[in-house]
């Protein structure tokens, strides 16, 4: 019989055993009566000979191993009853635990998806990212010729592939849309080792320069545009107007690089003049048995060789990093801080419950004493208390799990889009286990200490005491105080971190970008390419002009402009240039360089940027005229400190096919073009209409009401039906650039708020309990002449002392650990006195509130009632 069946049968077995024993005794009595004893004597003798029947039954039960289970069931039943009788305590404890465990499970699920799990490729340890480094050791993208040399000369890589992320307009028999795509060289899919789920990846023929144009779709994109389950292999799609045949579908979740939705093949052009154009990322797949270090040494040899051979590579090195670090590395600092914060929250929650439990334990001393008097051993009492703790933890853990599921859904949906691998976040089986371990662990942690304290209950003492007054000695009291101070300290540390991040975020969000963002909306556009993926300058010119004229004519539109890159969101390109009349330095690395942006007429008007000197672009600047440029103040300061800049001529090298000198016609103020957190740097605006041969992608900027969006859309569609239009207000664009900062600030503030609440509950709980215990003492004081104010102050000062101690300790700790936040802060020092003061103030108010409620209750005590309170 298996143990479960036996367990179910146990009632019958026990009844039979009882019958059997009774029969035995009766038989013995009969025997003894036969031997000549009286009935009474026989009975006494028989029982004596039989011994303790109850004990024997216990022992028989033990033989079947039921005792443990039975006692457990008893403990659980009893525990439930005890908890149900103290609903305030129970609900508080469960809520505190649920939030602590829920937050932790959600955050650790996110951490697992983002940081802990290996890259989702067959041989993640052999995948590396290979960077070029400049003189200062900063990572740079790689030029086509350099990449080709690396690929030909290295001995450590099984595959070396170039790739980059891009955006494009995708059209076909469906509504056109903007998509993110990966542009990959030979060896890209081989490196990652991920096969297509339908169809195939690129063939050699398709990957060579000028090969058949084919595309591979991501699973979700294919489902969206062709419908679920539809046959998509062999279908034709247009990317920026050029036809591609779909040859494969990648499995769900495959989105390398940069959450790509589609991949096309492209070999870097072997044009020696582009050795200084750093355009490509490089992915490597190490040969079997090759370490990162060996690969690094191999690449060092190549770097030295190239540095000698080419002036462009003179100071450049090569750095091999694990792909994992490359993908996840940038996220790690913020994430580790958030994880530490959330762990602190759970710790505070546990300490909080521990102190609640301890306070209750002293109130329960009488009950425990009674149980001890009735024969429960210390082990049994500890087990009883631990069972209650674990029950609480399980209830809290279950509720926490539900919260975690909701939390991960929120994380999935609300996190900024530039965090990779986010869609993988879910509460999985291992996280479920973690929740269980956390909840049981928390149960033991907050159960063990009070349980041990409780089991020291002196039976005599406990029973002698009146109700409502436990036997908490000075030790217990000190321990309770320590717990509360600890909670406050930890909460203050979190609060300080949140205050610093909040201040930093506030500063970042309120940086004056230098351009008008409200009332401005934008859409990215891609004009179709001409034959052979070339740029048809005349066509781009016609479309751009048509668009600007059409949109400008709309009644509500105040200004409409095109720009090659959108400020704040994108830095734009940077390049070297020469100033007419000034000799170029011998070392090309010393060339003057600046960011440049192509902008149309009314660009500055649309963004409300004033012209400080000279003029803006106007209709007369077109391809037939001499090229013109507008520069910003940083440019003037850096290259023309005397200010005589108007009329000077500059020429960018990597601009157009045949770069010409551009005459500087105007000066504009700096804007935060590189991002809100970055000060302006030298920037040059060229007239878009004079460079229509160098771009297909542009962003339309409209200063006008949102109600004109439908008209703008129809103008774009009438010019080119393949161009998707997805509007975004400039405010949204700017908010999007600080989404990550907002997200981490939001999370840390949430944790800190919760910690603050817990600390307040902790101090409130301790004081309430103290007031209850000291009711009669306070009553005596009042009878002896203490006023209500005196009593109020008495209790307040007890709480105040704890709060002040905790606050001081917490601020001290915060001062020591806040430097870990340095990398996340903008414009705020880690020792920012304002933030620390704000924390002290906020915490002081909350703590006083937590103290005031019990203190008020104490001052309302009626001495008559209090003295009878025993």
């Amino acid at each position: 019989m298996n143990p479960i069946a036996r367990w179910l049968e146990r009632r019958r077995v026990e009844r039979e055993l009882a019958d059997e024993m009774a029969a035995h005794i009766e038989e013995r009595i009969e025997q003894l009566v036969d031997d000549g004893l009286s009935q009474e004597e026989a009975r006494i003798r028989a029982y004596r000979q039989f011994g303790n029947a109850t004990l024997q039954k216990e022992k028989s039960r033990e033989a079947w191993g039921w005792n443990g289970l039975e006692q457990l069931a008893q403990d659980v039943r009893f525990g439930c009853r005890v908890l149900a009788k103290a609903p305030a305590f129970t609900l508080t404890a469960i809520a505190v635990l649920a939030l602590g465990i829920g937050m932790n499970t959600a955050m650790f699920s996110a951490a697992k998806a983002l940081l802990l799990s290996a890259l989702p490729y067959p041989e993640p340890d052999r995948l590396v990212e290979v960077w070029q480094t400049n003189k200062a050791g900063r990572f740079m993208a790689v030029s086509g010729p350099d990449f080709r040399d690396w690929r030909d000369q290295n001995r450590s890589m099984q595959y070396l592939a170039s790739y980059y992320g891009d955006q494009a307009s995708l059209s076909g028999d469906f509504a056109p849309r903007r998509i993110r795509m990966g542009v990959a060289s030979i060896g890209f899919f081989e490196s990652l080792g991920v096969p297509a789920v339908m169809g195939r990846t690129f063939s050699r023929e398709e990957q060579r320069l000028g090969g058949t144009p084919v595309a591979i779709l991501g699973y979700n994109l294919s489902q969206t545009i062709f419908g679920p389950g539809a046959q998509s292999i062999g279908k034709s799609v247009r990317l920026d107007g050029m036809a591609f045949t779909v040859i494969g579908i990648m499995p769900p979740g495959f989105d390398f690089p940069a959450r790509a939705q589609l991949w096309i093949a492209q070999e870097p052009i072997p044009d020696p003049s582009t050795r200084s154009a750093h355009n490509y990322h490089v992915l490597g797949h190490l040969k079997p048995g090759t370490s990162i270090r060996q690969a690094q040494e191999d690449m060092n040899v190549i770097a030295a060789r190239l540095a000698k051979a080419y002036i462009d590579d003179k100071d450049d090195g090569i750095k091999v990093v694990p792909l994992y670090d490359d993908v996840v590395g940038p996220l790690r600092p913020a994430f580790l801080i958030l994880l530490s914060a959330v762990t602190l929250v759970l710790l505070i929650a546990c300490v909080n419950i521990s102190s609640l439990y301890l306070a209750r334990g002293t109130v329960r001393a009488k009950e425990l004493g009674l149980r001890a008097a009735l024969g429960a051993g210390r082990g049994r009492l500890i087990r009883q208390l631990l069972t209650e703790a674990v029950l609480l933890a399980i209830a809290g853990g279950t509720a926490g799990l539900a919260l975690a599921m909701a939390g991960t859904a929120v994380l999935r949906n609300s996190a900024p889009p530039n965090i990779p691998r986010l869609e993988n976040i879910r509460v999985d089986a291992s996280m479920l286990c973690l929740t269980a371990v956390l909840s049981i662990g928390a149960g033991l942690l907050f159960g063990a200490l009070p349980a041990i304290a409780g089991s020291y209950t002196d039976v005599n003492e406990a029973l002698k005491q009146g109700s409502g007054k436990g036997t908490a000695g000075p030790q217990m009291k000190r321990w309770g105080n320590a717990l509360v101070v600890g909670q406050i300290g930890l909460a203050v540390v979190l609060l300080t971190g949140a205050a610093l991040l909040l201040k930093s975020y506030w500063k970042l969000a309120h940086v004056d970008s230098g351009l008008r963002s409200s009332g401005v909306f934008t859409t990215d556009l891609s004009w179709p390419s001409g034959a052979g993926n070339s740029i048809d300058a005349a066509e781009v010119s016609r479309l751009s002009r048509g668009l600007l004229e059409g949109v400008s004519r709309l009644p509500g539109v105040q200004a409409a402009a095109l720009t090659s890159t959108l400020p704040v969101r994108e830095s734009g390109a940077d390049g070297d240039f020469e100033i007419e009349g000034r000799p170029l330095p011998a070392d090309p690395h010393q060339n003057p360089d600046a960011y440049y942006r192509l902008s149309s007429i009314r660009y500055f008007k649309a963004f409300g940027i004033p012209i400080l000197q000279g003029r803006a672009f106007d209709e007369t600047d077109d391809r037939s005229q001499e090229q013109v440029a507008i520069v910003n103040q940083s440019f003037v300061m850096e290259f023309f400190p005397n200010g005589d800049v108007i009329g000077k001529r500059i020429r960018f090298f990597g601009f157009d096919r045949k770069p010409q000198f551009m005459t500087i016609v105007g000066i504009v103020p700096d804007v935060r073009a590189l991002g809100l957190g970055k000060p302006g740097s030298a920037e040059v605006f060229a007239d878009l209409m004079q460079h229509t041969g160098s771009f297909l992608d542009a962003t339309l900027v409209v200063h006008g009401p949102v109600s004109e969006q439908a008209s703008v859309r129809s103008i774009v569609t009438s010019l080119n039906r393949d161009t998707p239009v997805e509007f975004q207000s400039m405010d949204e664009v700017i908010a999007g650039t600080i989404a990550r900062e907002r997200f981490q600030t939001f999370l840390l503030s949430l944790f800190a708020a919760f910690a603050l609440l817990l600390a307040a509950v902790g101090i409130y709980g301790l004081l309430s309990y103290t007031v209850t215990r000291r009711t009669s003492e306070l009553g005596i004081r009042m009878t002896l002449g203490a006023g209500r104010g005196d009593v109020l102050m008495l209790v307040l000062s007890e709480g105040g002392k704890l709060a002040a101690t905790g606050l001081t300790l917490g601020l001290l700790c915060a001062f020591l650990v806040s430097r870990t936040l340095a990398s996340l802060l903008y414009g705020v020092k880690t020792s920012d006195p304002g933030s620390f003061a704000a924390v002290a103030l906020v915490f002081g108010i909350v703590a006083m509130l937590g103290c005031y409620i019990p203190a008020r209750r104490a001052s309302k005590i009626d001495p008559n009632v209090a003295l009878r309170y025993e």
């Binding site: 039979e16 055993l17 019958d19 059997e20 024993m21 029969a23 035995h24 009766e26 038989e27 013995r28 009969e30 000979q49 039989f50 011994g51 303790n52 029947a53 004990l55 024997q56 039954k57 022992k59 028989s60 033990e62 033989a63 079947w64």
Partner: protein, 109 residues
């Protein structure tokens, strides 16, 4: 008179007793007392936990029947596994006894 037995001895005595045939609890205790000539005065009740252990191990089986005095009783019977166990325990017991004897009477060795 012996009141406490070495652990496990009671089980061995029960198995030995049952070798002669199925008996109920009372009869087993009666037999042990008489055969040991009242030397082993074990609490009769302690027989029952021991019997439960033997049942659990599958060394005896029990069935309900009627005693010679027309009382509903549970009789226990040795199983082949129980018989083997008895041999093992006997061998062990004899080694133990021999060992104890040698210690207690060192002069004769």
């Amino acid at each position: 008179m012996v009141r406490t037995l070495l652990p496990g001895t009671l089980e061995m005595l029960i198995l030995q007793t049952l070798r002669r045939g199925a008996l109920h609890g009372y009869a087993i205790s009666q037999y042990i007392q008489q055969t040991s000539e009242e030397a082993l005065q074990v609490e009769e009740g302690s027989l029952y936990p021991a019997l439960q252990r033997l049942l659990r191990e599958g060394w005896v089986v029990a069935e309900w029947g009627t005693s010679s005095r027309k009382r509903r009783v549970r009789t226990y019977r040795l199983t082949p596994a129980g018989r083997k166990q008895l041999e093992r325990e006997k061998a062990g017991f004899e080694r133990l006894l021999a060992g104890i004897s040698r210690v207690m009477r060192p002069a004769e060795s």
